[in-house]
């Protein structure tokens, strides 16, 4: 078959890229080879637009065992325990088929984690949808949520935290990011690097079907002689098979038989085999006749590009085939030797006794295109919102509107569809600043959270990047965890647009700066570009997944008020920054202006202070202050505990809106017993920490001077009513 311009375009390759392929091969590729190049050279596998920027991120410190570059990052949490985690996007598939897209997103990230030898112990997700009024939103939302639940619940890993957000920027491009966290023995981590020649390459898991063959509808119809209807099909997740695969892999990992192991994710068999060979500086030879296929007459092109789920590639030590195959037989899974490692440094594919493709591994990996794309710095609209120019609204009206709005409403309706308790180690479930998972049979725990702030990142990518790392850090601190490392999912628009590329570049600089300052390195992540349609790119939406360590299970904290009559203290200074706040955004529909400033020094000092307070045990509850400001944070503390508050405006305050809705960073709210207050005060003074004592907890009423008074039960109702209205239920 002749490779035409049309076919090249269809494969998403630029003409310069095609020329480069010819140069690297010293000839024209055949159609199979072209397909393989297109899969390996696309943005998703090659990171060609992001690599130069990602290099800037800090990826090491004393706790990091494995940083980015493997299936997942690995950190040391002491006692030979390692935590393995990563986040990944499944945005486009979820927009096409929300249930399956989200489900397979969860399946994919789980494989990344257990491939490394870790048993997954927690799932998280960050999901962003368009305007609730948009016709598509309801279906997408319900489909995605049940897809995430469907997969995690079935495989039996608790889904413990996440975020659900709405913004019209996602109307035509939702975001579905899933994070998995696993626990491994530090001495038994498994990597993808192949070693040794003539080692058996084994295919395990589900059979290969025509799933998600990268949009190759036209391609596969054309390439196949008997071109029957062969539409590319959506990947369907099979959590039951994944469970079998996970158990079988973990069982095999107890033996000394695996040289290297790699899940088949995007670009399936192609990327897994190339990755393993490339890292080992070897070649690999596959006999495609042996690949277990679900359908008749599958072509080499289809086999190599299929994205069927629940499959793995393993390189075994010599002589371990029988032992390994017994394990997979026990779990009713396919186990087939489909090839071997070679010293040729080529990917070589055989089909029906013919060599059908030969490509130097380097051509697919280290020689893949790399772009330092043009980018422009963000230009700012310098105008700051003047408070006196705003339309008048009463404080309580604004507050009620916000607390019952889609974004700020309680997300119980999401999290009640996720099994959060299975595995029996969930100490704090969704609804807190960070979920807490006990390390099985040990006296320690990890805390996990995911966060994003697209509005901030849109208006000032650099600060947005910093802010989101700090928010993640703060969420972990708030439950008494020492933040250790992050994973990140960078969801952006079209990188060929210099403004978008600028958002990306500056955002990474912000993330870098904060991570460095807080000693909070990045150990894994994912980049998703081309989110949006035509010239309508989504807001830059980096999502940060943070993991922290709790060494003493008696020193855990949460945001639920514990008793009436305690003092309520705001830690950190409130300047009243309203630009980009929920208040300005939702109540005044203004979207210009800069996000709050991030002072890393204050962030660190305040955080370390709160961490110390939690450890001394003199405070009753803690909550970080984020979107919505102090009043929203207080509301969440009241709603979750059904304990009210009585707050007075601080005296020096000029404006109640600015004080209570302002979104200044580095702040926490803490509850402290009256009897401990003076001790607290002196600790703050000793450490130069700014604080405001704003009131006390009380029974029944949520009350702010004469500006707001509502029964806590009613507040709870307000906070919970949105989803049922949206979904047309009447309870």
């Amino acid at each position: 078959m002749k490779i035409t311009k049309e076919i090249i375009d269809f494969h998403g390759l630029k003409s310069e890229e095609y020329s480069k392929i010819k140069l690297l091969l010293n000839r024209e590729p055949n159609i199979l080879e072209l397909g393989i190049f297109s899969a390996m050279w696309n943005e998703h596998c090659s990171y060609k637009s992001s690599k130069v920027h990602l290099k800037k991120l800090p990826i090491k410190n004393k706790n990091v065992i494995q940083g980015p570059g493997e299936n997942a990052g690995v950190i040391d949490i002491g006692d030979d325990d390692a935590v393995v985690f990563k986040i990944e996007s499944h945005n486009h598939p979820s927009f096409i088929e929300p249930y399956q897209g989200a489900a397979t997103g969860v399946g994919g990230i789980l494989r990344d984690v257990f491939t490394m030898g870790a048993r997954p112990i927690a799932l998280l997700n960050s999901i962003h949808f368009g305007d609730p009024k948009n016709k598509k939103t309801k279906n997408l939302l319900n489909g995605v949520v049940s897809g995430i639940g469907g997969y995690g619940n079935c495989i039996g890993i608790p889904t413990v935290a996440g975020e659900t957000k709405f913004n019209s920027t996602y109307n035509e491009n939702i975001l579905v990011n899933a994070m998995a966290v696993g626990l491994a023995d530090k001495k038994r981590i498994f990597y993808s690097k192949a070693k040794g020649i003539n080692k058996p390459v084994v295919y395990v898991g589900s059979k290969t079907g025509r799933d998600g063959i990268h949009g190759a509808s036209m391609a596969s119809a054309e390439f196949d002689e008997n071109s029957e209807d062969k539409k590319p099909t959506v990947q369907v997740g099979d959590p039951f098979t994944e469970k079998l695969l996970m158990e079988a892999c973990l069982e095999l990992m107890k033996k000394d038989s695996i040289i290297s192991i790699q899940d088949m994710g995007a670009a399936g068999l192609t990327s897994s085999s190339v990755e393993m060979a490339f890292k080992g500086n070897l070649g690999i030879e596959l006999d495609l006749d042996k690949v277990p296929c679900r359908e008749d007459n599958m072509s080499p092109y289809e086999m190599m590009l299929s994205e069927s789920q629940e499959r793995m590639l393993i390189i075994l030590e010599d002589g371990k085939e029988n032992e390994a195959s017994e394990i997979f037989k026990k779990w009713d899974l396919d186990f087939v030797i489909i090839g071997k490692t070679t010293n040729s440094k080529n990917l070589s594919l055989k089909f029906k006794n013919e060599i059908v493709a030969t490509i130097p591994i380097n051509a697919l990996s280290s020689n893949a295109p790399l772009y330092d794309r043009k980018w422009t710095k963000k230009k700012f609209k310098s105008k700051k919102v003047k408070f006196k120019d705003l339309k008048k609204i009463s404080f309580d009206e604004a507050f009620f509107k916000i607390i019952s709005s889609p974004n700020q409403s309680n997300k119980k309706w999401v999290t009640e569809q996720y099994d959060q308790m299975v595995m029996g180690d969930t100490i704090e479930r969704s609804g807190t600043d960070a979920a807490i998972i006990k390390i099985h049979n040990k006296d320690k725990a990890i805390a996990v959270t995911v966060d994003s702030s697209a509005n901030y990142c849109k208006s000032f990518p650099l600060n947005g990047g910093k802010q989101i790392v700090c928010e993640s850090w703060r969420n972990l601190i708030s439950v008494g965890a020492k933040p250790i490392a992050i994973t990140n999912c960078l969801n952006f628009g079209n990188p060929e647009n210099p403004e978008i590329m600028g958002e990306f570049a500056e955002n990474i600089l912000g993330i870098k700066e904060a991570c460095e300052f807080l000693d909070y390195p990045v150990v894994s992540g994912n980049v998703s570009f081309y989110n949006g349609t035509n010239n309508n790119n989504i807001y830059p939406t980096p999502v940060i997944g943070g993991v922290g360590l709790i060494k003493n299970l008696n020193k855990i904290q949460n945001h639920r008020f514990k008793k009436t009559g305690s003092n309520i203290v705001v830690v950190g200074k409130t300047f009243g920054h309203l630009d980009q706040s929920v208040f300005i955004n939702q109540i005044h529909n203004l979207h210009d202006g800069m996000p709050p400033d991030v002072n890393l020094l204050n962030e660190k000092n305040n955080g370390e202070m709160v961490f110390k307070l939690i450890n001394t045990g003199i405070i009753n509850s803690v909550h970080d202050v984020s979107t919505g400001g102090i009043i929203l944070a207080l509301a969440e503390m009241s709603i979750s505990s059904q304990i009210g508050i009585k707050i007075n405006k601080p005296k020096k305050l000029t404006n109640i809106f600015e004080y209570f809705f302002g979104e200044d960073q580095s702040r926490y709210i803490i509850e402290v017993d009256k009897k401990n207050y003076s001790k607290l005060e002196s600790l703050f003074k000793e450490n130069n920490i700014y604080f405001d004592n704003i009131g006390t907890t009380q029974n029944e009423y949520f009350e702010l001077d004469n500006d707001l008074k509502i029964n806590v039960k009613e507040l709870y109702e307000l906070n919970n009513k949105w989803y049922n209205q949206f979904n047309g239920l009447n309870n």
């Binding site: 049940s146 039996g156 469970k243 308790m421 299970l553």
Partner: protein
């Protein structure tokens, strides 16, 4: 006391129940579904999970496994059998318990803590609870909507074969406190011989205050003595 936990390929609460049993001083063994023999047991637990992905009908495929023949034999000779969540569904599919577990009324997976009233404690599983105790356990299921024919329902009520019903924290039992649509708010049932208990809520998740509460312990200690 000797206990056995049956493990199917898609079981996922097997470790949790084993942890609970061991913590509460049972001598526990895990039994793989392909096995043909049961270790000597005073209690057999069929744990929660998605035994075969819950494909076809939840519990249907597991009910056909080798080991279930042995479980049925043991049950008929009076051994205590506890089926939790998917285990309840499996017991229903084997016919050891009567009725059906249908999709939850709003067709959504439900995972949350619920209140239960111990409506009958006159059986080996509940004797350490007081009658009309209100306890809080976690549920996590898609198909927990218990249904049975009128005459069987009457039998269940008359013979005190319903140990748990969904309620609110004040013990109110009605539609508004029914999470999944179960007939008469039923959360668990016993067979006529009262040696087989199937229940949707997870007692093994409620044995530790750090994680949740200790309301599940009563069930295990009842069995123990």
């Amino acid at each position: 006391m000797n206990s056995s936990v049956i493990v199917f390929p898609g079981s996922n609460c097997d470790r949790d129940i084993a942890t609970a049993l061991t913590k509460l001083q049972f001598k526990n063994k895990m039994v793989w579904h392909k096995d043909n023999e049961l270790p000597k047991s005073d209690l057999i637990v069929i744990p929660g999970g998605f035994s075969y992905g819950d494909y076809l009908r939840s519990g249907a495929i597991a009910a056909k496994s080798n080991i279930l023949n042995e479980v049925i034999k043991a049950a008929n000779s009076g051994c205590l059998i506890l089926g939790i969540c998917n285990g309840f569904q499996i017991l229903i599919e084997t016919g050891l318990l009567k009725g059906a577990l249908l999709r939850n009324k709003d067709l959504k997976f439900i995972s949350k803590d619920v209140y239960l009233k111990v409506t009958n404690n006159n059986n080996k599983f509940c004797k350490n609870y007081k009658k009309n105790n209100i306890i809080r356990l976690n549920i996590a299921h898609n198909e927990g909507n218990y249904f049975t024919q009128k005459d069987h329902l009457k039998e269940l009520e008359d013979k005190e074969l319903i140990p748990f019903k969904y309620c609110n924290k004040n013990g109110l039992i009605n539609d508004s406190t029914n999470p999944n649509g179960s007939i008469n708010n039923i959360a668990g049932i016993l067979n006529n011989g009262k040696n087989i208990l199937g229940m949707m809520p997870h007692p093994e998740r409620m044995i530790d205050n750090l994680i949740s509460n200790t309301d599940g312990i009563g069930l295990f200690t009842s069995i123990l003595n």
